[in-house]
């Protein structure tokens, strides 16, 4: 009973950390974007203000039960991802669910939220939402392929499908996987562009074309939950990448440095690129990223 309580406590702490970090990263993204565009930009805590404002806004209407459940679905997948991914390597403060699921489970639980959200967006009856959802799902099919190829390469090279196993492998060899199996890293990072949905892959919620797509009917509290789940999800995914490719992080500072460095890749790439159409995006993901994924698998088969 007690360790259950401790686990819940640890989960809450993890969640708060993820929330804060994710929100801050979002604000920093806006700041950096502004600086790149030669603007002053909002303060880095702007996202917190927005979030609080959204939370304090009244929500007078809903479109039905699935519409109400949508944000909760979204939150489930981000928080579950967060709990399964080991935040800090080799500490037992919050071993949330690290040893209860492995990478395949992670892949599937990561798709849980978007689909539930899609159901919510579908029930609002707004055509823009449905269009955005179809685009998002198509894009997901696109980037999952190189992503899975990279993961499979790692799995077969180190004969384990669990994240902790891969982290242990790095700990033993002492070299990060991004160096020992570079192709997998390249493929995974390319897939990450699609995962974060920054430009050029932001046609899903194109603000002016689709009226922000799936979320177009959600304001106030709905939008707050989605926003926070997005930031938690960002943190969780970054941590996952760190664990897989950069040997994890032993304390929070290193974690923040690594994650932020990794996070800048899609952000900066996004600021400086125009937008792809959906089929262009899908074809892009099935082009070079998949090629690198194949290289990764070949390398793994040779080295295993």
């Amino acid at each position: 009973m007690e360790e259950v309580l401790y686990n819940i406590l640890g989960a809450v702490v993890t969640f708060i950390v993820a929330f804060v970090v994710g929100m801050t990263y979002g604000g920093l993204t806006r700041k950096i974007t502004a600086r790149v565009q030669n603007r002053k930009g909002p303060p880095f805590y702007q996202n917190f203000i927005d979030a609080f404002k959204l939370a304090s806004k009244k929500t007078a209407i809903h479109h039905g039960v699935m519409h109400l459940m949508g944000p909760a679905f979204l939150m489930v997948s981000s928080v579950m991802t967060l709990l399964v991914v080991p935040v800090l390597s080799g500490n037992n403060w919050f071993p949330n669910l690290n040893f209860h699921g492995d990478l395949i489970f992670l892949l599937y639980i990561m798709t849980f939220g978007p689909l539930g959200m899609a159901l919510g967006a579908g029930q609002t009856g707004n055509p823009n939402s449905a269009i955005g959802v179809t685009r998002g799902l198509s894009q997901m099919v696109g980037f999952e392929i190189p992503w899975v190829m990279a993961l499979v390469a790692l799995m077969i090279q180190y004969k384990t499908t669990s994240i902790t196993g891969l982290m242990d492998a790095q700990a033993q060899t002492g070299t990060w996987l991004m160096f020992s199996s570079p192709f997998a890293f390249i493929a995974a990072v390319m897939a990450m562009f699609g995962m974060f949905r920054y430009s050029p892959f932001d046609i899903v919620g194109a603000p002016t074309e689709l009226a922000s797509g799936p979320v177009s009917e959600n304001g106030g509290k709905f939008l707050f939950v989605m926003m926070s789940s997005g930031s938690v999800f960002t943190f969780a995914k970054l941590t996952l990448y760190i664990d897989l490719f950069m040997g994890g992080a032993s304390n929070l500072v290193i974690l923040l440095i690594k994650t932020f460095a990794l996070y800048m890749i899609p952000v900066l790439y996004g600021i400086t690129s125009p937008r792809y159409r959906t089929e262009q995006a899908v074809r892009w993901f099935w082009g070079w990223p998949t090629f690198f994924g194949l290289l990764a698998i070949i390398q793994a088969v040779i080295l295993k």
Binding site: I61, H62, H63, G64, M66, L68, M69, P71, A72, M75, V76, V79, L97, H100, G101, D102, I104, F105, Y108, I109, F112, L115, A118, L119, G122, Q123, T124, G125, N126, P127, A130, I131, V133, T134, L137, S138, M140, V141, G142, E144, I145, V148, M149, V152, I156, K159, T160, T161, S162, G165, E217, K221, V225, R277, T278, E279, W286, G293, I297, A300
Partner: protein
């Protein structure tokens, strides 16, 4: 074993009685029908103990019926889904024509499937196989539109498969001089290599046709979508599993012992993978729910084929578990389509939208089925998918796992299309009158949905029979190291512990649901789907803003190159060529007496010329 004869007597007699009871009254007919399906089910699971058998002899051929663990597993699928579908079809067939015909064929199908799984000799196996084929054929042509093409395509493919099996059976008989499956398996080792290669090929041809494997799948979409939905749930759920059943037996007992067996496995596995991928892509393209589900059945059977043909312990369990799950969720989904067809009269996504508030229970069942189909935790589909991936990775099928993963990710697209097309989107005035389906139809669906949830957390319920069945097939060691009641392992020792995952998912979900609804649910009011932010415009009652035509267009554009050709075309061309040949042959008979006389003379001359060769 008297129970066998009683069961089959009830099936046969009940079928005929049900057929003629339609003359009296429909209620009597329904009751008789239910009794005919449910009573033998009860008798089977209560009266028949595993390992019991019943030898008898017919036309000088000694036959044997019996139940082993493996057959029992599939009889679970057949009878379980069969009785649920029976309850469902009572509601579904209310007020439809030719109910006697439907019930008769339904009962015959269930009987023949049960017979297949309990027959321990090839002759009764083949007889039941053929009864299954033609009863399902009569179901396929029940609804009557485009019968000639769809029905005959289905039957011809089945017949080609069945005759291949018959050929294998008689070849085996000519070697062993018995028809017992045991003896066949015993004698297989001593056969000549040529036979050792040909017999599995012939058998697998038959089973691959039923399991709708590329390139023998072309009958499936038409047949699945043309049969009445109440039967299609059984057709796709249980009847296609008979192909898997036979396939597993042949693979395990024959191909494993063959040195060249690995080749068989690889070819089969790749065919299964291609089946999964192409089936998924075609399913995404469909606008008719029946067709969509039909193609998705083809794809799902592709996964199962991959699992059983890879044939490592984990893969075999994955395949069989997926078979059970597929029976569950595809049965549910076809039932859902049937309910919607009955309530609205159409199954086209572009016509019917926004039923979620009209048919909530149906939506629940559909949601469960779709989540299980997509393989998303915490429902049962995930277990099978997980095992499949792990087995593929641990058995060095790296590209195949990518293919499978691609198809199961693309499956999300049609999953969402199914749910959105029917239940979500704008609520139309046209469908304002729609009511929830009657209880006899809703209850089976919801039951299966709940069962899927349970299986997602406690897969041991099904993994245990699978384990015993595989041990029956000759796997000496148990599979206990691969699963516990709610934990699944792969062969590298990595595992997923399901119970805490389920609890945390529920906890998070409920917490944030409450958070969203905080400060009183009554504070928020429901607004119709017309009240949307469409540039300040007010949609009129009769204008439909739902986005349902060309739903997955961008993705389709992305994958257009692979979908340019359809296997069907080639078969049609081949058939047309044959028809031309037949027509040419027909012209031999000119209808002219002189010609016939000339034929006679020519015959004599030829025979005389070649008499030294002939005699």
């Amino acid at each position: 074993m008297e129970t066998f004869s009683i069961i089959f007597a009830i099936f046969l007699g009940g079928a005929v009685l049900t057929y003629f009871a339609g003359k009296l009254s429909s209620v009597v007919q329904d009751i008789l029908f239910l009794a005919t399906v449910l009573v033998p089910t009860y008798l089977f699971f209560s009266g028949v103990s595993i390992g019991s058998s019943m030898p008898f002899s017919l036309e000088g051929i000694s036959l044997l019926w019996g139940v082993n663990h493996f057959g029992w597993l599939f009889s679970l699928i057949v009878l379980g889904l069969g009785s649920l579908a029976a309850v469902y079809s009572v509601g579904y067939m209310k007020g439809k024509e030719r109910r006697g015909y439907f019930y008769l064929n339904f009962v015959l199908s269930v009987m023949s499937m049960l017979g297949i799984v309990i027959s321990q000799d090839l002759i009764s196996f083949f007889i039941f196989w053929e009864i299954m084929t033609w009863s399902s054929y009569l179901m396929v042509i029940y609804s009557g539109n485009d019968v000639q093409r769809i029905g005959i395509k289905y039957f011809v493919f089945s017949a080609i498969g069945a005759y291949a099996m018959l050929m294998a059976i008689v070849i085996v008989h000519s070697v062993t001089h018995t028809f017992f499956i045991e003896d066949m398996i015993q004698a297989y080792g001593q056969m000549s290599l040529q036979l050792q290669i040909w017999i599995p090929i012939l058998f697998l041809l038959a089973f691959a046709v039923k399991a709708a494997m590329m390139p023998l799948h072309v009958w499936a979409p038409g047949a699945y979508s043309n049969a009445p939905m109440a039967y299609t749930s059984l057709f796709s759920g249980a009847l296609s599993k008979m192909g898997v059943y036979g396939m597993v037996i042949i693979l395990v007992t024959m191909v494993n012992r063959l040195p060249q067996g690995i080749l068989f496995r690889e070819v089969l596995a790749w065919l299964g993978g291609i089946t999964a991928a192409m089936g998924t892509l075609w399913a995404i393209k469909q606008d008719d729910a029946k067709k969509l589900l039909a193609y998705s059945s083809v794809a799902q059977l592709g996964y199962i084929i991959v699992g059983v043909s890879i044939g490592t312990e984990l893969a075999m369990m994955a395949g069989l578990f997926l078979a059970v799950m597929h029976a569950l969720f595809k049965g549910t989904l076809f039932m859902v389509v049937g309910a919607i067809e009955k309530q609205t009269g159409t199954t086209n996504f572009t016509e019917v939208t926004g039923l979620i508030r009209k048919m909530p229970w149906t939506f629940f069942a559909a949601l469960m089925g779709i989540i299980a189909l997509a393989g998303i935790p915490p429902l049962g589909g995930f277990i099978g998918k997980w095992m499949l991936y792990e087995s593929l990775i641990t058995s060095d099928h790296y590209l195949l796992v990518i293919l499978i993963f691609f198809s199961s990710t693309a499956a999300f697209l049609y999953c969402y299309k199914f749910l959105f097309g029917f239940f979500l989107g704008q609520e139309e005035k046209e469908w304002a009158h729609v009511k929830e389906a009657p209880a006899t139809m809703v209850v089976p669906m919801v039951l299966m949905g709940i069962f899927m949830v349970v299986l997602g957390t406690f897969p041991g319920i099904v993994l245990n029979p699978i384990n015993n069945g595989l041990m029956d097939l000759g796997y000496v060691d148990s599979y206990k190291h691969l699963w516990e009641t709610s934990i699944i392992f792969n062969s590298w020792g990595d595992h997923v512990i399901l119970q805490p995952i389920l609890y945390s998912i529920m906890g998070i979900f409920i917490f944030f649901l409450i958070f969203v609804l905080w400060k009183g649910y009554k504070g928020t009011r429901y607004v119709t789907t017309k009240d949307i932010s469409s540039s300040g415009e007010v949609p009129k009652e009769d204008e439909n803003l739902t986005f349902s035509v060309g739903f997955m267009q961008p993705f389709m554009r992305a994958v257009a190159p692979v979908m340019r050709r359809q296997m069907d075309k080639y078969y049609t061309g081949f058939a047309n060529g044959l028809e031309g040949l037949f027509d040419f042959v027909r012209r031999i008979y000119t209808g002219n007496a002189q010609t016939y006389a000339v034929y006679v003379v020519v015959f004599i001359v030829i025979v005389l010329l070649f008499k030294d060769v002939l005699f």
